[in-house]
């Protein structure tokens, strides 16, 4: 930790207080803040649209260490145990539709994964304002300092992104059935 924790704590508390001012709206959407103990905010995201019951999708721990000299870290965790999740343990890849333009012409839309990482590795949200993005070797040219105080990396902004791509569009559980023939069905055993 290289930023005085007193400074990061003040900013952390501002972020949490601002979230709590609109907690009813967040709850209705499925964004539940379970714990906020500096430097971590633990949030559980619930998909509210599936019928007949809502489904708990995942949890995240947003870490505000060194905030806001560094952006917050976002780690996906088990919603009950807070154990870190690997990419293949996430319920989906948080896809986002983006336009494809070739030679200046719009040619269609494509789905891009917001969550990146190898299946067995810790996944991360590959967007500006997320510590893991800016620390990634591929993004050293896209400094956090270009985004600080622009709205990126705020708790509200991160939760909006996670809710938009993580729970808002979930409508049901994806089910895969594998029928297996186990024998013959007999109408009535002969006497």
């Amino acid at each position: 930790m290289f930023v005085d924790p007193k400074i990061s704590r003040v900013k952390f508390e501002r972020e949490v207080t601002q979230f709590r001012e609109h907690v009813d709206i967040y709850h209705r959407r499925g964004v539940w803040l379970m714990d906020a103990t500096f430097p971590n905010v633990f949030v559980v995201l619930v998909a509210v649209h599936p019928k007949p019951f809502p489904m708990v999708a995942f949890g995240v721990v947003v870490n505000f260490e060194n905030y806001d000299v560094e952006p917050p870290s976002v780690q996906f965790v088990h919603p009950l145990t807070r154990a870190p999740l690997k990419k293949h343990e996430l319920p989906h890849r948080m896809q986002r539709a983006t336009p494809v333009v070739q030679n200046g012409q719009f040619v269609g839309m494509q789905a891009q994964d917001l969550v990146q990482g190898w299946d067995e590795a810790m996944p991360f949200v590959c967007l500006q304002g997320v510590r893991e993005y800016h620390k990634h070797p591929a993004h050293t040219g896209d400094s956090w300092w270009l985004y600080r105080k622009t709205g990126h990396g705020r708790l509200s902004n991160l939760l909006e992104i996670l809710a938009t791509y993580g729970i808002d569009s979930v409508r049901a559980a994806a089910v895969q059935l594998m029928p297996q023939i186990t024998g013959f069905a007999i109408a009535q055993p002969p006497s």
Binding site: L114, G151, I161
Partner: protein, 87 residues
């Protein structure tokens, strides 16, 4: 000429609350610059990078007049930054 009628609204810019009294005949989009300024947002204020949400719904046509949305007095309108480009 339409009579000027004001309405109190609360804009929330990435967590920061900005109460504002607005002319209901203005397009919603036209208040964005003022709201971002008051929320102390620095950098790019390009309107195409922001969107409005009310009652959990994205407002798809922010160029409509504020009065046409039928917001109650003191309505909370979220102003959110669109997700950036995926790296």
């Amino acid at each position: 000429m339409a009579a000027e009628s004001k309405q109190a609204l609360v804009f929330v810019v990435e967590g920061t609350k900005v109460p504002l009294e607005v002319n209901v005949n203005r397009p919603l989009q036209s208040v964005l610059g003022e709201v971002l300024e008051k929320a102390d947002v620095v950098g790019d204020k390009d309107a195409s990078k922001w969107y409005f949400k009310y009652d959990d719904q994205t407002i798809n046509d922010p160029n409509r007049k504020i009065g046409e949305f039928g917001f109650p007095s003191g309505a909370v309108i979220f102003v959110n930054l669109k997700a950036g480009h995926v790296g």
